[in-house]
């Protein structure tokens, strides 16, 4: 083990600093505010620090390490040029409060990204300010709330979410002050229109739903759902976490949605960084646009003594929406993430549809290959599809309930068995509506060979002696971690006193 807090070289610092500017009088901290005890930080020289973090990195699994079929997370390859671009001083070293004429490049890229997302989603106006999907949800729901307040429809206090929804949907709506109405899914995992019709009324502010849904199924009745909600006077909100399945094929606009968030860190390849950062822009139809958080990037032909930007013939500027809800992040959102995603988008341009086609091709192929290999290995009776369907979209679910019933093998056991074989495990136990669920999303950036080999390994895991599988993983840096112990013996920081 390498422990950061074991490093305590008496004089060490990982980088020595130049001497401060000389002053006539030494600046002071008020007497009662002088730091009494220095933080007990470690003391490392640079070589020690580099070795520690390199050691840690080797105990971590990323897309670069191996196949990462984590459903709902769209773990596609992150092109490296995007990282190079994000370090250019024109993005790394700019301040959001610099005057517009210092930021023409940033504004033009923001404008281009807003426009691109508007086109892809069939929305009228996009803001890039929200910094993650959940914040996008919250922002859009806030806009809908202000929209209704503006119209004097304050009685719309409820938001409808299907029981298969991601946890952030109800959490975001509740944070904005809404009551949550959960509707059950049909036995096949699809949305229940009757259940929706039964709850949609004059108290409905919005319905939040993702399509394809969290089981990877396209909700063919989506337009009917939009009509039900609209007829009740409510708004439709599209959770864009699954956008990778439909880009260039259909759009939230075509399905009748009024608002949408994008997870740029999924669909547009902002690296997920072990948990973040992300970027969660939202798009809305014109009637919600005046409520968006500001400012937005806009452009016009130069007038008066304005000169065209250094970028093109337009003048780029910030624009404050008329009835803006205000801000959800203090600045302009995760600009650095937006730049990476812009670089990613430029790679496909009008060809973004190919990205979604290949994502869906790979998901369906993997589903097929898993069934094929399981049959060959004689373990096809140990799982069933999470939902019956001819074609899945960019991801699919399997229920390991039969394995559990027959052999006591849980979805978690299978997940740990896959770790031993050098794979990241699929998402497990989500969505909650599929028992012993494994949710598998290969993304478009995996080769057929990778998918075939994974399918073989998946079948082999199911052939493993159940006892051995309960003990998996055995090849990883640590074996199964005791989460109950962690919660009962809370140790949330280095215990110096030991």
């Amino acid at each position: 083990m390498s422990h950061l807090f074991n490093h305590n070289g008496a004089e060490n610092t990982g980088y020595s600093q130049p001497t401060p500017l000389a002053c006539e009088t030494e600046p002071t901290v008020p007497q009662g505010l002088i730091r009494s005890n220095a933080a007990r930080w470690p003391r490392l020289s640079e070589p020690e620090m580099v070795r520690h973090y390199t050691w840690l990195s080797k105990r971590n699994f990323g897309i670069d390490t191996g196949f990462y079929p984590l459903g709902s997370c769209t773990m596609k390859h992150n092109p490296r040029v995007n990282e190079v671009i994000a370090q250019l001083p024109g993005i790394a070293d700019i301040h959001p409060h610099q005057p517009e004429h210092h930021l023409q490049g940033l504004l033009s890229i923001f404008y281009e990204m807003q426009h691109m997302l508007e086109v892809c989603a069939g929305m009228d106006q996009v803001t890039l300010q929200p910094v993650a999907g959940a914040q996008g949800e919250f922002t859009a729901i806030r806009c809908i709330q202000e929209y209704f307040r503006h119209r004097g429809e304050d009685q719309r206090t409820k938001v409808i979410v299907p029981d298969s929804a991601h946890g952030t949907n109800p959490a975001s709506a509740a944070m904005a002050g809404f009551e949550i109405v959960e509707i059950p899914s049909l036995a096949d995992g699809r949305m229940d229109l009757d259940a929706l019709a039964a709850v949609a009324d004059e108290t409905t502010a919005a319905m939040m739903i993702t399509n394809p849904n969290t089981l990877g199924l396209f909700e063919a009745d989506i337009k009917a759902a939009s009509e039900i909600v609209h007829q009740a006077g409510g708004q439709m909100y599209y959770d864009g976490a699954n956008f990778n399945a439909i880009l260039g094929i259909t759009s939230p606009g075509l399905m009748g949605f009024d608002s949408v968030h994008f997870n740029l860190h999924k669909t547009f390849s902002q690296p997920h960084g072990g948990g973040g950062p992300g970027s969660g822009p939202i798009g809305v139809k014109a009637h919600l646009a005046p409520f968006l958080p500001g400012p937005l990037a806009a452009r016009r032909e130069p007038t008066g003594d304005e000169r065209p930007s250094a970028v093109d013939e337009f003048w780029y500027h910030w624009h404050q929406p008329e009835h803006s809800i205000g801000k959800v992040q203090q600045w302009h959102g995760n600009a650095g993430a937006v730049i990476r995603c812009w670089a990613y988008y430029r790679r496909y341009g009008s060809g973004l549809k190919a990205m979604s086609e290949h994502a869906v091709l790979n998901a369906n192929y993997l589903r097929h290959a898993i069934h094929r290999e399981a049959k060959k290995a004689g373990v096809d009776h140990l799982f069933i599809d999470g939902a019956e369907t001819d074609v899945a979209k960019h991801e699919f679910t399997l229920s390991m309930q039969p394995a559990k019933d027959a052999l006591g093998i849980s979805a978690m056991d299978v997940a740990k068995g896959l770790l031993d074989r050098g794979y990241m495990a699929p998402t497990v136990y989500f969505p909650l509506v599929v028992p012993e669920c494994m949710m598998i999303e290969p993304t478009e950036t995996e080769s057929k060979d990778t998918l075939d080999t994974f399918a073989e390994h998946f079948a082999q895991v199911l052939k493993t002696d159940p006892e051995a599988l309960h003990a998996a993983p055995i090849t990883t840096p640590v074996r199964r971690v005791d989460e109950v112990y962690a919660a009962r013996n809370l140790c949330l920081r280095h215990p110096y006193e030991e």
Binding site: P96, G275, L492
Partner: protein, 490 residues
Amino acid sequence: MIGCSPISGGLKQFIMSGTRMDFHIPTVRSVRAMVDQLPNRGREAEMLQEMGLSSMEDLFSDIPDDVRFKGELPLPGPQSEEEIISDARRLLGANADMGSRPSFLGAGLYRNYVPAAVFQLVTRGEFLTAYTPYQPEVSQGMLQAMWEFQTLISELVGLPIANLSLYDGSTAAAEALTCAVRVHNRKASQPNTVYVSALTPPDKMSVMHNYCQGAEIDIRTIAHNDDGTINMDSLKEAAGSCGVYLEQPNPLGVLDEGLTGVKAIIGEHTALIVGVQPVSLGVVEAPGHYGADIVVGEGQPLGSPVTGGGPLYGIFACTKPYLRLMPGRIVGRSIDVDGKEAYCLTLSTREQHIRRHRATSNICTNETLIALMGAMHMALLGPDGLRDLAHRNMMACQKAKEVLAATPGVRIVHDAHHFNEFAIEVQGSAAACLDYLDSNGIIGGLDLGRWYEGTTNQLLITTTDQTTLRDIESLSAQLALWAAHGEVSA
């Protein structure tokens, strides 16, 4: 589209023509560009055939025709990596980066030097391309790094508990307010009420309003004295509320000793929330040592460039009574089945994926990688390095104060202890003065008229470890000229 006057016309023209100068026109060569991201291009037929399908179309047979996109997306064609980077250089090159000229703009974001090792290590694919550590056995690296981050922050602010980041300083402050209400509302004599320094920058205040309105939390303000310190009479009104939010240094750079007496006034059942500039804590007392219950802040000055305002990371630390109602992910140290030291996410029953609409926050994706950059920077600094860095910030600030105090037409607004920024009064309007400085190649700080009423002749001047004597002298010389020029035009 809104707000861009000739918009709809301009937009259509753009979509139709597809030949705008700044966008790439597709060529046969660049259509191949996307092949480098799609390993199965050329193998579609083989894969489809195996599934018993005959075309890519068959994969989308479940999508009804009436919601189908017809034709190609009206966007410019694909580009190769070389074309993309060349466009990126051209477009981003049109921005004026702060390193290209003397800059005194901070106001919440600070350009400290970030050591090279941080960038080199953080872009290792094992960190960069991982998701949230849901499978702890293969995520020990990031989990341990975040547990270490929690320790570094906990030590820095003097509180026992820290999470592994929120989105930024503003959402951390906003979530601290809602957390304070969750914890104290039952016993509060002013339920659903929090008090916030009147100096809080309006953009941050706006985030607070958005986060608080859902729980119907009333945000009231606390006044400050003319010298920038907190007004104790005004503060007294906050007793019995759920929480008080103050910054140290305050948004005008003033170090306020008065904060050490706040907890005694507001009492046990009102949370003292202190917003910090983390670098200052190398020399300034940790708020945990003067009664803070929650400490929040913008982590960016430790580990990250300013990056146009994001990605950043929000610091959130607290005492034990807040633990089970706090927002954000937390790593705990545990053991594996062999009893070996191991790390995992813990206390997740507070979070949205389990608690859904009753979660303490909706946050899921956070800012882990930027927090990791922070941890790396902190590890390199060590306690002495942090003290030196804080000292350099203060020395640059002091130097700027000394030089500007002697500059004709400039007045230092607060006779106070400052950390790394301070307000000055200039002749005429601050906005016009900023334009003048800009036309002479200087980013002159923040026009405080953007933040407050009655301060349209004030600038907030920020210095960091990157500020040089020449920067300060140029600013002084130009401000003197502005004063003279202002007199001429008056």
